[in-house]
Amino acid sequence: MTKKPIFRFERPENLPLVRTPTLSVAIITACRDGQEKLNLLMASLAAQTYPKELVSVHVIDDGSKTPIEIPAIAPKKSKVIRYKNTPSSWGKTAATNDVASTIKADVFWFVDADMVFEKEHLAHHMKWHHDGDGYAVLGWKRFVQEWDNSPQKAFEMINFGKFADMHSESWVKELWENRIEKTADLLHPGLDGYRSFVGATFSIKSTLWKKMGGYRRELVTGEDTELGWRLFMEGIRIIPERRARSWHLGYSTVESNKELIDRHNQPSLAQYIPEMKKVRARTSNSWVIPTYEAVIDVRNSNLKQLQSICSGLTSFPGTQANFILLGSWSQLKKRYSPVSDRYGDLREISNWLKSENNVTFQEEGDENLKIEKILSRFTNSPIPFHIFIDGDFDGDFDGKLLCDYLLAHEYGLVGLATKQDRRAFAVFQPALARSISMPGSIYQNLSATWGVLWLTHESFVAMHSGSKFRRARAVNFLKREGKKVNSPQQLLIFTKKLFSVLLHKALK
């Protein structure tokens, strides 16, 4: 019997711990000084219930002033890797990537060096990896301000089941926990669920780490958030494991230097994460990863139709698109005269757009385009939405609305068919990535993993017009934005926003 494909982000409920685990795990942590906290971390790792013969610890010393040492209380297979710093190799991201590429283990568990773990923490991560591939597991943590520096005492408390008693005062990150709560533990992550992905304690299969290419090397901070975005876009199920408990020693650097960190992280992360719309909306710059990739069949359309599709898709501030135009471009090389040009429309498109960086021209013959063939034209990359549309689509095409619908209803593909037999559809990247990774037809896989829905364009338009729909949308907007008002400054922002939306509508 073939295994049933995984549906969306669903996962087994109440997965028990594995009785006889078989997977090996490499625990990887990078530090730059901070031996005292590391000693506590190592003590808590030594107390883990997961079979010791399957565990190895790799402490990366990223240029500490006093070289990092393995403390007395530590798992048996622990070693320090001194990461030789050069102008092109320094910092957590580069160090972790370079060292991880030399480690052989089934699973990588990445931890920060200022964490202390409950004894079943690792076992709770590993139960998921024994269940299957395609998981990224996040540990659960609380923040503490003060702690006892004795590794011996920490080891004993954890070992004797007194982990919870180690601190009487601790804090949670409310924003983080609210998001987990709101998304049903990332079962319904929406588009911003990736933000829950933090590097303090997460584990993934080493094959997946390699497939992802590890962290994005260009990032010095926020590399975990960006990895979270790519894992999400890969269709990986990210599991916040509430039973994998831990203490985080002190506030994170993000909390205590928010403004400086934001100034640094926002634009560098927004390069790769299109969902950071608000950051992107501040300028009209180009960013590395666009919001949309649109494959447009222009074989029977003209420049005006194409322009209308393109401008419609990027009309909202902070959105950007790559366009792949399908046409019989090779025909343009043949001898022609401007006054009797069979390919006049195609040539006009080419002449206007051939130097645009976000436009590529792909050859297509005369044949009918099958869905599978169109799907194979999409780039399997962390662009959240892929769109196909016939260039001569009859009626107004609202790509953003289609993608909103796709996301809200959690389908893998939502398509529209018109009275004139024209087609348009939107595909959700996590669904596409998983469907591509499976054997067989991408289209069939999309249907099995995320679901496919076709509607008439007529009914789609009807569903999104009329006073009832407009009123519901306005109420939602006011509710959402109104919630944020908690100071005169926020009220000003709210008023400005309201005004700009009204202006946008008025000018439309």
Binding site: N300, A417, K419, Y443, S447, V452, T456
Partner: protein, 271 residues
């Protein structure tokens, strides 16, 4: 005893409920049929690939023996067709091939084939649709049981080739209604008695609306048309030329279900 037709089948009927209800009807009808009459199938084709597909489906028909008349509309048989025809002959299907020029119309081809056929009943099949293995046998059982002049199927399953999607449409109204006397059935599923077909002038001589020609003349002559369930037959809407649109999107409206690819079930011979 409650008549089988009174089984409630409406919009809320699920696929498995539909199949269950249909199985009862089929079993009752099949057990009533003592002896199968001589049946002829008429088939006009312009596309070699479609001919291959339909011959493969005809080979799997559970009706034991029948006659098949193929009208080649300005095409030639290829090696694959010939192999399939010899396989059909071996399993008790007599095949007759007639050639027609480009100028012939669909109506004249089908009418000519029907006239040349010898069966007590004539079935029309379309080369681009999909037929389950019991298609012909179900129609014959129904026409005997209902003592009808024509039997054909409701349109419950439509395959939209440009979307690679099968839609299931089930309800008590329109072309989806099943098991009732009507003046309309799917053209690709017509089974007509020789007498009724002859007096209707078979399929006329037009290029289109050949099915309507037969059905309306049968009705005008006072004949009775029974529309049976659609499961076991999938009507196909293919790609069309760019300059010509058929609005296949209308089949998405009010569809009960849609699945990617051909609907997978034994009744369609797809499983």
């Amino acid at each position: 005893m409650q008549s089988v037709e009174n089984t409630t089948l409406d919009r809320s009927t699920t696929f498995s409920q539909e199949i269950e209800a249909i199985s009862r009807i089929r079993l009752l009808r099949h057990n009533k049929t003592r002896k199968y009459p001589a049946v002829s199938v008429v088939l006009s084709t312009v596309r070699p690939d479609d001919l291959t597909s339909i011959l493969s489906q005809i080979k799997l028909q559970s009706l034991k023996s029948f006659e098949l008349l193929i009208g080649l509309h300005a095409i030639q048989l290829n090696a694959q067709h010939k192999t399939l025809i010899s396989q059909l002959n071996k399993r008790g299907i007599k095949v007759r091939v007639e050639k027609y020029s480009q100028e012939s119309t669909l109506g004249t081809i089908l009418t000519d084939l029907a006239r040349k056929s010898s069966g007590d009943f004539v079935a029309k099949m379309d080369d681009d649709d999909y037929y389950g293995p019991d298609h012909l046998r179900d129609l014959v059982d129904a026409i005997i049981d209902k003592e009808a002049d024509v039997v054909g199927r409701a349109m419950n399953y439509v395959y939209l080739e440009p979307l690679e999607l099968t839609v299931r449409r089930f309800g008590v109204q329109g072309t989806q209604a099943v098991e009732l006397w009507s003046d309309w059935v799917c053209g690709g599923t017509i089974l007509v008695s020789r007498a009724a077909g002859e007096s209707a002038g078979w399929f006329g001589n037009g290029t289109t609306a050949v099915d309507r020609y037969l059905l309306s003349h049968v009705t005008e002559n006072g004949g009775k048309i029974w529309r049976t369930f659609g499961a076991g037959y999938i009507y196909k809407r293919g790609f069309t030329f760019h300059t010509y649109s058929t609005n296949y999107s209308k089949y998405l409206k009010n569809a009960n279900q849609q699945v990617v690819g051909l609907w997978q079930d034994a009744i369609f011979g797809t499983q």
